[in-house]
Amino acid sequence: MAHTEWKDAPGLPDFSLLKRLARDQLIFLLEQLPGKKDLFIDADLMSPLDRIANVTILKQHEVDKLYKVELKPIVSSSDQLCFLIRPRIQTVKWISDVTTDEWNFYILPLDDDILSLELPEFFRDNFLEGDQRWVTTAGSALRLLQSVYGSFSKVYGIGRCAKMVYESWRELMEDGEQRTRQPEFAKVFLVDRDVDFVTPLCSQVVYEGLVDDLFRIKCGSVEFGPDVTSSDKSIKVMLNSQDKVFSEIRNEHFSNVFGFLSQKAKNLQTAYDKRRGMDIQQMKAFVADELKGLKQEHRLLSLHIGASESMMKKKTKQDFQELLKTEHSLLEGFEIRECITYIEEHINRQVSMIDSLRLLCLLSITENGLLSKDYRSLKAQYLQSYGIEHLLTFANLRQLGLLEEQQAGETLTVMESKVGKLVNDKTVGKLTDAFSSLAKKSNFRALSKRLALVPKSGEEYDLRVPRDMAYVFSGAYIPLSCKLIEQVLERDGWTGMEEVTRMLNGQEFAVTGGSSSSEARSKTDAQRIVLVMFLGGCTFSEISALRFLGKERGCRFIVVTTAITNSSRLLEALLDNSA
């Protein structure tokens, strides 16, 4: 069993402080508007706000009615209107003539070891549009963490955005006051999402990952429908370490979950049965001390068994086994033709718009692009099955390097050559460059070999007693991002990894900060806590893998992410098939 708690684990910093800071500041801002006011909230901020300041608190500060920001005329009976928004152009345009202020909400703690910036748009804005509007936000988040929890002594990173965030943070630090206090975590690792696209594209098989893939966890909570609750009601549950049942199965490979839940059910039965043959005194004690806990456990157990059943049903229906087989083959580079046939049929049967796309991207990345004939044929079939308006989606994926043709160099299209006649060629070239990604070759196979990401097949992989991080993908693949983190921490930098960084198109860095030298030797708890910041999103599989890695290395990882992501969210952010 992969337990999250282990002996000698370093204690984690208290992140509820961040919530309190954000809440106190919000209250302060609300009090700047004394009297009755209506509050308009950005849709994406509603869930995070709920975790920070609930309706009662808002009402206590004279918020009368709550509305969702929808870009249409407002009807309100209040004299004062208050808008809580993210600085997006559309929204700002809609609200004109107001006084603005900044609410320093940067980080939402989703759990003891997960912090989220709740910025799902970061991925598309930064990596597709090349818009760095959120870089300072990320830098500010780091600064906030530093000011509350102490200075970091070492920063490692890889990726263009990681570099920018680091620079941004450094600049912010220069302006602010330096507080010297004992740091609660010493090392930080910044990583761009596009350093590893393979991992978020794989189907998840650890429990929490599966729940996210199938039910969509939002801001740390999930909604389970009637098929899970076995009633006609839906239920919304928080999923974090407070749920004792969940915390024991969340990182487990799904195949271990049943066994665990069965055992727990048996134990529960035994505990309940104790009641028989109790005298009044014992009964009273039982009711006072144990019953509440048992009832809660019963409820949670019921819920998770229901969820597991539902997941099982859905997955068998979808031929999950065959799907996984194809994914594993792609990761391994084995029987690629058969994989292509499978993907083609998947598209032909119109199984799922997102999943078909996901498989195409996985094929492209692992194979360094599709053969031209395959690209054109599969694209045509995809457009036939799911709609020609997906032309734009394909353009986006191509730009990001997620789905492309194997071709040396870009040839000018007819359009570009036409324009070239009107303007000089240099300008046209520039235009093309500006819009194509700093497109990198994928190099997955070489990387995989160099870093031993795909364990040798033929050897039995015991999922009950996992031997490495590959267990999060059934023993088929070690997440690249996590492997990089492991290697860099081990080497305390990038030495010896030149080949790897070259294959990842460079942009790696390792910096030692100010106060470190004496603390570097000491084995304080802080030295054993590493903050990992994913720019562009992070999956539950990666979080589980890092928890495993932490246990192996005797350290704890705190994951900071711009948002929790998975294959669906990643691809949906890149769809361009609707107005």
């Binding site: 709550l66 941004s168 049943f258 009832k295 999950f320 500006a434």
Partner: protein, 443 residues
């Protein structure tokens, strides 16, 4: 990776795969079902309290937890609908002096002000939310310095703010020329224009697709069709031009089919009323629709499957898959049969399929095909292992029995017999085989 290709069996038996082997008689799954029963049957005869425990929130009829922000918003919204409308009150726009230093107003971005600062200092002030002025940067050089400084601090909002100013105060040509030399700023500008809906200002390959994308904003299908037609002249790549052409042709045909089918009174429309219009559906969906409602029509009509197949160059595999789905849904087993008939060179009819017959069986089973129909296609599966596993999955007893008989596997027959009803014909068939002394069983 070059390696000797192991047997597929190895994979199917490996741990990677086993993790998800969930057959009905799998121990783990039935244990889980048992656990569920056990948990649910635990009677809590003491006490009342239906009070909610941590983590499980009470939900309202809309599924939102009571007391949460989203619930409050919904409540307000629904009460508004039933309440009376009030007009939008005037907002006081004069910045109050007492707010000095606590924030900056958007309009102050463009008001002239007294400060005389360098680009660096101005950008710093912008970052800190203090009052500032951009107006003073009048010369082109000053403006560019300002832009470069904004880029240097990596503040996206700042860059956009400066760009807005530059857009106002510089000619399009000059602005564009200068942006050519500044990658980061250029990307920002493009994104900003897209968000403002002013992408016509760009001259780029991307603009073709943005132009094409406009069709999504046109609700009326006739207008949308006309718009798509106008896109045909755009200089797309060859492949993309074909796709856009297909899109236009498709919508054009769909409009015609829709008009005709809407008032159609053929038997099939009565028996299976249409659930939605065919407009704007993908090609394959349209083909399915056609195979469902217009099967067998002559190639001359736009609504016939043959016409669609030819016009959109649909592969044989795709066509058969789609037609199979539609005809199976209608339980037209005869039509299904015809899909796979080909004549070999001697003139004999043979069954052939571009998709594996196990797939065919899957689709038939999903459409509740009777066992005798299923068996016919299970028998056509080439690989003996696959045939057996499919037969087992769909309980095609005869095939299972015959296979075990051919393999001379007595033990499996015995095991299988126990799954059958006593005195059923299949049960008796096994009995007969087992009692047959002439068979040389291997076990």
């Amino acid at each position: 990776v070059s390696r000797a290709k192991p047997e597929d069996d190895e994979y199917w038996n490996s741990s990677k795969f086993k993790a998800f082997t969930f057959d009905d008689d799998d121990d783990e799954f039935s244990r889980l079902k048992e656990s569920k029963r056990a948990v649910n049957s635990i009677l809590v005869d003491d006490d009342d309290d239906e009070e909610e425990e941590d983590g499980v929130e009470r939900v309202s009829w809309s599924g939102e937890p009571v007391g949460s922000i989203s619930w409050s918003v919904k409540e307000t919204a629904s009460s508004i609908r039933s309440g009376s409308e009030q007009s939008f009150p005037k907002i006081d726009t004069t910045p109050s002096l007492s707010k000095q230093g606590s924030g900056y107003s958007l309009s102050s971005l463009f008001k002239g002000d007294l400060y005389d600062l360098s680009p660096e200092e101005t950008v710093r002030r912008m970052q800190k939310g203090r009052a500032f002025s951009l107006e003073k940067f009048r010369s082109l050089q000053d403006k560019l310095l300002l832009l470069d400084e904004a880029v240097a601090v990596y503040d996206g909002n700042l860059i956009t703010a400066v760009l807005i100013y530059l857009k106002k105060s510089l000619s399009k040509e000059i602005l564009f020329r200068e942006l050519m030399a500044r990658d980061v700023a250029l990307r920002h500008y493009v994104h900003y224009l897209k968000e403002m809906g002013e992408q016509k200002l760009l001259v780029d390959v991307h603009i073709l697709l943005m132009q094409y994308k406009e069709h999504l904003n046109i609700k009326d299908e006739g207008q949308r069709r006309d718009f798509l037609k106008s896109c045909l002249g755009l200089p797309f790549s060859q492949d993309d031009a074909t796709h856009v052409q297909d899109h236009y042709t498709l919508l054009e045909r769909q409009i015609i089919i829709e008009a005709s089918d809407k008032k159609a009174d053929a038997e099939i429309f009565k028996k299976f009323p249409r659930k939605a219009s065919i407009l704007n559906m993908p090609i394959i969906t349209t083909l399915y629709y056609s195979c469902f409602y217009h099967y067998g029509e002559s190639e001359g009509t736009y609504s016939s499957p043959e016409n669609i197949r030819k016009t959109f160059r649909i592969s044989e595999k795709q066509y058969i898959l789609t037609a199979l789905g539609a005809r199976a849904k209608l339980k037209s087993w005869f039509d299904v049969d015809s899909l796979f008939n080909t004549k070999n060179w001697l003139g004999y009819t043979k069954k052939r399929s571009p998709i594996g017959f196990h797939r065919v069986v899957d689709i038939l089973q999903k459409n509740s095909a009777p066992v005798n129909v299923l068996q016919e296609y299970v028998n056509l599966i080439d690989s003996p292992e696959l045939k057996l596993s499919v037969a087992l999955k769909y309980k095609c007893h005869d095939i299972v029995i015959n296979t075990y008989r051919d393999l001379k596997d007595r033990q499996e027959l015995v095991v299988y017999r126990e799954k059958l009803e006593r005195d059923s014909p299949e049960y008796r068939k096994i009995q007969e085989l087992l009692n047959n002394v002439q068979i040389r069983w291997k076990n």
